[in-house]
């Protein structure tokens, strides 16, 4: 059966990608909240926040990109839940196909859909004055970190997608993830925060990821932040992947 894994996953991914291209509003709704936040922070709060020599839109874009991903992955839970409800999930399970392909199709689709949303958000940021002198390699590194972050969060999203009892439950898990960047270095420097908050902010994954991307955009040395960011992403990815597959196995009775 493993021999069919690639071809089956390709076919199933083609199916879920059509779900995305036939409901392009999901790309827009994913991007609209981060864009609204970006407008709010840059044109309302930003003037009062001291970010040194870096312009505020340049400073906060990495955090906005992470929020975009955090809201985008809830559609993976939504689509997976929809498949389980519609019975098409059972059809696939009763067919001689590579069973893990069903999940991978949703995960790969999430990568593509989030990439589209990120492009929209970066486009708006460019209009708002975002500039980066980053070279091709730095942009590739940013894309790599964002892809890894998307993969990690998508595998988290698979868990409620498989186990939720209602459509609201399937997508509600993403709210805390969207909130996480606010208690990080994404919008304000952490050194004005009171002790415990600052300790949390400086040691949670978003700060390392944001700092790494910001350094890549502003052509500063990335240093340890990049490795911390990668370690967080890979760690979350592995744990979420294992948990999602446990839930999946219980769900399909294998």
């Amino acid at each position: 059966m493993a021999t069919h894994f690639v071809s089956d996953t390709t076919v199933l991914t083609g199916r879920t990608l059509r779900h995305v291209t036939r409901s392009l509003d999901t790309i827009i709704t994913t991007a609209i909240t981060p864009i609204a936040m970006m407008l709010l922070f840059v044109y309302v709060f930003g003037g009062a926040i001291d970010t040194g020599s870096v312009s505020y839109v340049d400073y906060m874009l990495p955090g906005i990109l992470l929020i975009t991903i955090a809201s985008g992955i809830s559609y993976t839970a939504f689509r997976l839940f929809g498949d389980m409800q519609a019975g098409i999930f059972e059809r696939f399970q009763s067919m001689p196909i590579a069973r893990s392909g069903v999940l991978w199709a949703h995960v790969l689709t999430s990568l593509v859909a989030n990439l589209l949303s990120l492009v929209v958000v970066v486009g708006v940021a460019l209009v708002m004055g975002f500039r980066s002198g980053a070279g091709v390699l730095a942009w590739l590194a940013v894309a790599g970190v964002l892809a890894l972050f998307t993969l990690a969060l998508t595998w988290i999203a698979v868990i409620p997608g498989l186990s939720a009892k209602s459509i609201d439950g399937a997508s509600a898990f993403s709210y805390p993830l969207i909130f996480l960047p606010f208690i990080s270095s994404a919008f304000v420097p952490t050194d004005t925060m009171p002790g415990p908050v600052r300790a949390f902010a400086e040691n949670q994954p978003v700060t390392a990821i944001v700092n790494a991307i910001r350094a890549l955009f502003t052509q500063q040395p990335v240093g340890a932040d990049l490795w911390t960011a990668l370690a967080w992403c890979v760690g979350i990815l592995v744990v979420a992947y294992v948990c999602a597959n446990l839930v999946y196995r219980r769900r399909i009775g294998a």
Binding site: V11, R22, G87, I88, E90, P96
Partner: protein
């Protein structure tokens, strides 16, 4: 007689609730077997075990000669399942649904397969439209068409006509008859007695987790006292009226 489905002492419980309490049955190859039972009798549970979606607590089941517990992959190669709710992708078109399944079954020419089935199930015109725009009967037909791709020797139909209007029901019956005529073994569950009477070579009644009766229609009729000859004025049934008024059949 060769056996396509063989079930021995099958048991399944959901926590305290014992749904199947020792089910035995055999389905002959190429026959239509109807499993009758009221809601909650355990029909769907049995079909799910036979199609490897659920594991039994006790007993054995073999489909097309393969054990559902130890040779699940071989069973999946031999069967197709049409569940209680049309398991079709509503965002794709009818043709795309068929092509999808044909690709997953690794067939050579998925498009030709899809076009053939669209024609066979009178869906050619609707083939390019999204399934979300289909009527209930069209969805069911598409669902069954998807199940036939790759010509699996055994087909499970779980309440294939639930929620369909009379015309759509006749269309589904016709499709089932054609299947059996082509040599496919069909195990269908239903709560409509006339459906079993119309279609099945053999009928079993599942009640409170056990098969309480199993036989041909003639055998089942013998369970009751012999028929008396009476003169009865034949009143048209509502179904007769419906079809007379609609002008089809």
């Amino acid at each position: 007689m060769t056996v396509a489905v063989q079930v021995r002492g099958l048991e399944k419980a959901y926590k305290e609730l014992r749904v199947l309490r020792g089910v035995d049955l055999e389905v002959a190859r190429g026959s239509i077997f109807a499993l009758l039972g009221s809601n909650g009798a355990g029909k769907t549970t049995l079909v799910k075990i036979l199609s490897t979606l659920l594991k039994a607590d006790a007993g054995t089941a073999r489909v097309n000669g393969f054990d559902v517990a130890t040779q699940a992959a071989d069973v999946r190669e031999s069967i197709s399942l049409t569940g209680q709710f049309a398991a079709v992708d509503h965002i794709l078109s009818g043709r795309e649904n068929l092509v999808l399944v044909a690709r997953l079954r690794h067939l050579k020419d998925p498009r030709a397969v899809a076009d053939g089935l669209l024609r066979r199930f009178s869906l050619t015109e609707a083939g390019g439209r999204r399934v979300a725009t289909y009527s209930g009967g069209m969805r069911r037909r598409l669902d069954i068409a998807m199940s036939l791709i790759g010509n699996p020797p055994v087909v499970f139909l779980d309440e294939p006509t639930a929620g369909l209007d009379p015309e759509a029901r006749l269309e589904v019956w016709q499709a089932v008859r054609e299947l059996a005529a082509g040599g496919t073994t069909v195990l269908l569950t239903t709560q409509y007695l006339d459906e079993a009477e119309q279609l099945a070579d053999r009928i079993a009644i599942l009640h409170q987790g056990r098969i309480i009766v199993d036989g041909t229609l003639a055998e089942l009729k013998q369970l009751l006292p012999p028929a008396k000859v009476e003169y009865v004025e034949k009143q048209p049934s509502l179904e007769d009226v419906f079809f007379a008024v609609v002008g089809e059949r």
